[in-house]
Symmetry: C2
Subunit: 139 residues, 2 copies
């Protein structure tokens, strides 16, 4: 699969090597967030010889170039996911019991956020919402 996101993410910056290609290819297929270690392990499991450091370097680069959003869900690790594909972006609900993470999106929430963003006086570039609780299986 070669999407517009994949091509843009590969093209940005300098020449992509094996690691960058592998990470972009994996993330391009992803619908929700992954940790650096998860990405590393999946690539290794798939037979790729990428190093963990290269995964981190690629993630850092793609984040700075705006292709990835960093997400912190409260467990001390950072997750990454492709930014707004198709103009939509989502947020996350985390089950504090089993650790499950699910995405959701809501227009009214986005509207409320935009309103607040204007009021802050900041030039707000992005936002992040995390809901915590118990999923239907755990509660």
């Amino acid at each position: 699969m070669t999407t517009a996101w994949n091509e843009a993410a590969l093209g940005a910056g300098r020449q992509p090597g094996r690691a960058r290609r592998a990470v972009v290819e994996l993330l391009g297929r992803q619908s929700c967030c992954l940790t650096a270690l998860e990405i590393f392990e999946r690539l290794r499991a798939a037979g790729s010889g990428v190093g963990l450091a290269s995964v981190y370097r690629t993630l850092d680069q793609l984040s700075r170039d705006g292709f990835l959003q960093k997400i912190e869900l409260g467990d001390g690790t950072t997750r990454y996911e492709p930014t707004e594909r198709g103009g939509h972006h989502h947020h996350h609900v985390v089950c504090e019991t089993c650790g499950k993470v699910e995405p959701f999106e809501d227009d009214r929430l986005e509207q409320a956020l935009r309103r607040v963003e204007r009021q802050t006086g900041y030039a707000v570039a992005g936002h992040e919402v995390v809901l915590r609780g118990s999923c239907t299986d755990c509660s």
Copy 2:
């Protein structure tokens, strides 16, 4: 200053010692979030002999007992602040350039969040919103 929050936070669980007293007293005076290291350094600067480990242990305990909210703003460290004092709770805007953190609150945002929380099907216990951008000084 001895507020209801302070008393409750001290009373919960077992007997509070020097460290717990110092941390609760400092956080009780705080309006916005602090990292464990900031708390440790302030207490040390104030002449207290608390250990960093005790600060972490106290923060962990107070969080589990619901007196503190953990907050992750994207720099890899966890911040802590007293939960909903006076029934209000706030969220945070972070300046990605200078690192400044400011609180804000907005009723319409809270309403939108409550709506979404119901839709998820989760028993949502809490939520967190972070806005990122440039503050007026930096943009």
